[in-house]
């Protein structure tokens, strides 16, 4: 396959940082605005996929092994499970941080309000862990399918 042109590479490097920032914003503000871990993770994974398309599979695969991705995905899953287990003083998935005054521990006033980042207890932390999981999972799938597309003809049986 021929190398992508210089225009494609330049536009991809220009668009990549805003897309990444937007995805991280969607993940971090999941408890205030539309969005959350799944949606923001999909945005970030598509940003990395843009680099994959523009710079070729070999370039990305040299820097990002798929074993690293499975480590990130495992970190996300373990964080999610342990946040759920930490609430076990009351029940599984108990929101032990909400209203405690600790980190993310404020209660917003009822009704319409401008939105306070420091609210919602465990929900932002769960958003972050699920976001890590979705980024790693989706990008691992895309990377493996790109490997398959690159392999020559696939003549072996």
């Amino acid at each position: 396959m021929s190398e992508p042109s210089k225009i494609v590479k330049t536009i991809a490097s220009i668009i990549f940082p805003p897309t990444m920032v937007f995805g991280i914003y969607v993940i971090l503000h999941g408890h205030l605005t539309p969005g959350g871990g799944f949606q923001g993770g999909a945005v970030v994974a598509s940003a990395i996929t843009l680099l994959l398309v523009a710079f070729g599979t070999a370039e990305i695969a040299r820097r990002l092994k798929e074993s690293h991705l499975s480590v990130i995905e495992s970190i996300g899953a373990l964080g999610f499970i342990s946040l759920a287990l930490l609430g076990l003083t009351a029940t599984f998935f108990y929101n032990f941080l909400a209203g405690s005054g600790f980190i993310f521990g404020r209660i917003p006033p009822f009704g319409s309000n401008p939105g306070d980042m420091n609210t919602a207890g465990t929900l932002p932390l769960m958003n972050i862990s699920v976001g890590l999981k979705v980024i790693a999972g989706l990008f691992a799938v895309v990377l493996v399918l790109a490997f398959v597309a690159r392999s020559k003809g696939g003549g072996k049986r």
Partner: protein
């Protein structure tokens, strides 16, 4: 022969599903709203999140999300397993 049987069944199913869609309750006027009204009223006090959908996903129905994360993990592991021999080429 199987194809001859499949076409009438498909047409009957299509008629049933279209007539169900026409005879359903009017769009935008749900009948029973107790559960969702409770969640909308109490989500801010109980979880502290402004976004009621996030509080349902991660708090009220956390088990659902746990199972869904398991499904995602299993699917990714399945893809890596099925296409294992193309990774190190």
């Amino acid at each position: 022969m199987r194809r001859g049987l499949a076409i009438p069944i498909f047409i009957i199913f299509s008629c049933i599903i279209i007539s169900t869609a026409i005879m359903m309750r009017p769009f935008g006027e749900p009948k029973s709203t107790e559960m969702d009204d409770y969640i909308i009223k109490n989500a801010q006090n109980e979880t502290g999140a402004n976004n009621a959908v996030t509080s349902v996903v991660f708090d009220y129905r956390g088990f659902d999300t746990l199972g869904e994360a398991t499904v995602l993990f299993t699917a990714v592991a399945g893809v890596l397993l099925v296409l294992r021999r193309y990774i190190h080429e």
